[in-house]
């Protein structure tokens, strides 16, 4: 990694400059992660110190993967992340394509579409929770006229749909901005050439524009999966609390429940370690992609 050709020389100054960042990282990031690793291979001692913590190798992990609740949570997380990513990316792409056609109204639409980024996930959750409220909400009222009895307190499917919509809603702005930037960098000459050859608008989009967008699409996919897996804690916690019957108990929420409410430290730590490996894999993928794009 480069520095400037010419650098300042000081024996202590660079360390002093780095110190605040590095100290905070060590205390609040590295040390707790190390603790999580440690706790994940121990059985906790009891509160009275009669039984000391014992080293149990990977039993916490084995227990997790034998636990139907955990397997269920994996499945729920998978459905939730895929659903959220797909919904918010496809809607955002549609909006971006439409806005990209506009000339005078482009900025106006953009302004109207970007602000949900600022709404906290927990607030997004509460908003949609209200709209979907079985007795008060406007959507269940409309669904009832269509003959569907909406109740996210009883039906796991309804609850899942609700949290997917709430989480995707907030993420549309982000995807929209990136897709719009991507669309604007598609060379106009390519589209004109295809138009001269008689390709329809629809065909031009799927054979020229969309393939050119694929790097951005891939990047957004990773970012959205990370968002759905880790940043949506607020959506779940403020609304369904993992229910009904575990139907929306995503991994991050389960770590919190098991650690703080059920006080099962060993299992919570093992779950943390699994989550850390997932984040590390996703971050590596994301960075490899960025490197590749830079080297184009």
């Amino acid at each position: 990694m480069q520095t400037k050709r010419m650098t300042f020389s000081s024996r202590w100054l660079p360390y002093a400059l780095l110190a605040p960042q590095v100290i905070i990282t060590l205390i609040f990031f590295i040390w707790p992660s190390y603790q999580a690793l440690l706790q994940s291979v121990y059985r906790q001692g009891d509160a009275f110190g009669i039984r000391p913590p014992t080293f149990i190798w990977f039993q916490n992990f084995q227990a997790l993967f034998a636990d139907s609740l955990y397997l269920n949570s994996l499945k729920v997380t998978f459905i939730f992340s895929v659903g959220t990513t797909f919904l918010s990316m496809s809607v955002a792409l549609l909006f971006a394509v439409m806005v990209n056609r506009m000339i005078r109204s482009r900025d106006g639409y953009t302004t109207l579409l970007v602000w949900p980024y600022a709404v906290a996930p927990a607030i997004a959750g509460v908003l949609w929770w209200f709209i979907f409220n079985p007795t008060l909400g406007i959507l269940p009222y409309m669904l009832d006229m269509l003959g569907y009895d909406w109740n996210h307190r009883r039906s796991g499917n309804d609850a899942m749909i609700m949290i997917i919509i709430a989480s995707a809603w907030k993420q549309i702005s982000y995807n929209f901005l990136f897709f719009l930037a991507g669309l604007q960098s598609v060379p106009h000459s390519l589209i004109e050439a295809a138009a001269i050859d008689g390709a329809s608008r629809f065909k031009r989009f799927w054979t020229i524009v969309f393939p050119l967008l694929s790097p951005i699409t891939f990047f957004l996919m990773v970012v959205n999966i990370v968002y759905a897996m880790f940043d949506t804690f607020g959506v779940i916690h403020a609304t369904t609390e993992g229910g009904p019957a575990q139907a929306t108990n995503i991994l991050v929420y389960k770590v919190y429940r098991d650690g703080f409410v059920n006080l099962n430290i060993g299992s919570s730590a093992a779950q943390s370690v699994i989550l850390m490996s997932i984040v590390i894999i996703l971050t590596v993928i994301q960075f490899r992609y960025i490197e590749r794009r830079v080297n184009y």
Binding site: M1, T3, F95, V119, F130, F230, M276
Partner: protein
């Protein structure tokens, strides 16, 4: 050469108007609900036109809160959120710009090692190490304090990378000139680098402020004293605190107040926001 299709444009406008309506709808509903008296919500489907109790509801949440359910007035929570968001933003910006300066403008042993230590923070978000981080903060006696709310969140790999990238594009001549004139590193930093970075700092400020304001899990873990509740987590207390159906008119007034500051930041600083968002991810 591309045809300009009148019907196609009309269709695009229709799609976008419908889209914007759907995107705005939840907030419209919240605004409407926050202007109605409590009785409205007992009678069935929520209203779609404004009611008459707006002023009353907002003054109630700001000054009284819901004392029975143990949620303090919103005024204090708004202030806490503001302090936390500002502390996180300023903290992140200052420690990141300093470390980027060290990494780009100095050669010293373990430079790459420190770079990787900072990089690791990207891979270890709070959400994945909830319990041990809580234990560390508890052991340091930082529960229920602004220090506890902000300091553990101010390490930032993305801000450091962004500043590093920007510093690499600053012409070498500037530093050579500064050295010829006898300026030391800190003087160079203060008088040349900092003024050059203003746009980047502003763009990051917008992103970080929104990040800080919207923190949820962290304040939830480390505040047990209502004195330190922030507004985003306070809403959850209002929704679940109490056995009965939530007092929707008050909850929605709170929701509006909680979402307003970051939304205003985006609307008024859209250009900086877009710059910050697209650059932190590159």
């Amino acid at each position: 050469m591309v045809e300009n299709n009148r019907w196609g444009n009309l269709f695009a406008h229709l799609v976008l108007i419908l889209g914007v309506t759907i995107v705005v709808f939840p907030v419209y509903v919240a605004l409407i609900a926050s202007t109605h008296p409590p009785g409205t919500f007992v009678r069935g489907v929520m209203p779609l036109w404004p009611g008459t109790h707006g002023w009353e509801n907002y003054t109630t949440v700001i000054t009284e809160g819901r004392s029975r359910a143990g949620t303090p007035p919103i005024g204090g929570m708004l202030w806490n959120s503001f302090v936390m968001a500002m502390a996180i933003t300023i903290g992140k910006l200052s420690i990141s710009i300093l470390s980027a300066f060290a990494i780009v403008y100095f050669k010293f042993p373990f430079r790459i090692f420190f770079f990787w230590v900072i990089f690791l923070t990207l891979m270890l978000p709070v959400e994945v190490r909830i319990v041990p981080t809580f234990q560390v903060v508890a052991n340091l006696g930082m529960l229920n304090s602004f220090a506890g709310l902000s300091i553990p969140l101010i390490a930032s790999a993305t801000a450091t990378f962004l500043f590093r990238q920007f510093f690499m594009t600053v012409p070498e001549e500037l530093m050579e000139a500064a050295r010829v004139d006898g300026a030391g590193p800190m003087k160079f930093f203060k008088d040349i680098l900092l003024p050059l970075s203003i746009t980047n700092i502003a763009a990051l400020f917008v992103i970080m402020f929104i990040y800080g304001w919207n923190q949820y899990l962290w304040p939830l873990l480390i505040t047990t004293d209502p004195e330190y509740y922030t507004i985003v987590m306070g809403i959850q207390r209002m929704v679940t605190g109490g056995d009965s159906e939530p007092l929707w008119h008050l909850v929605m007034a709170t929701v509006v107040l909680a979402a307003l500051p970051p939304v205003l930041v985006i609307l008024f600083m859209q250009r900086l926001f877009v710059k910050g968002l697209t650059e932190t991810e590159k």
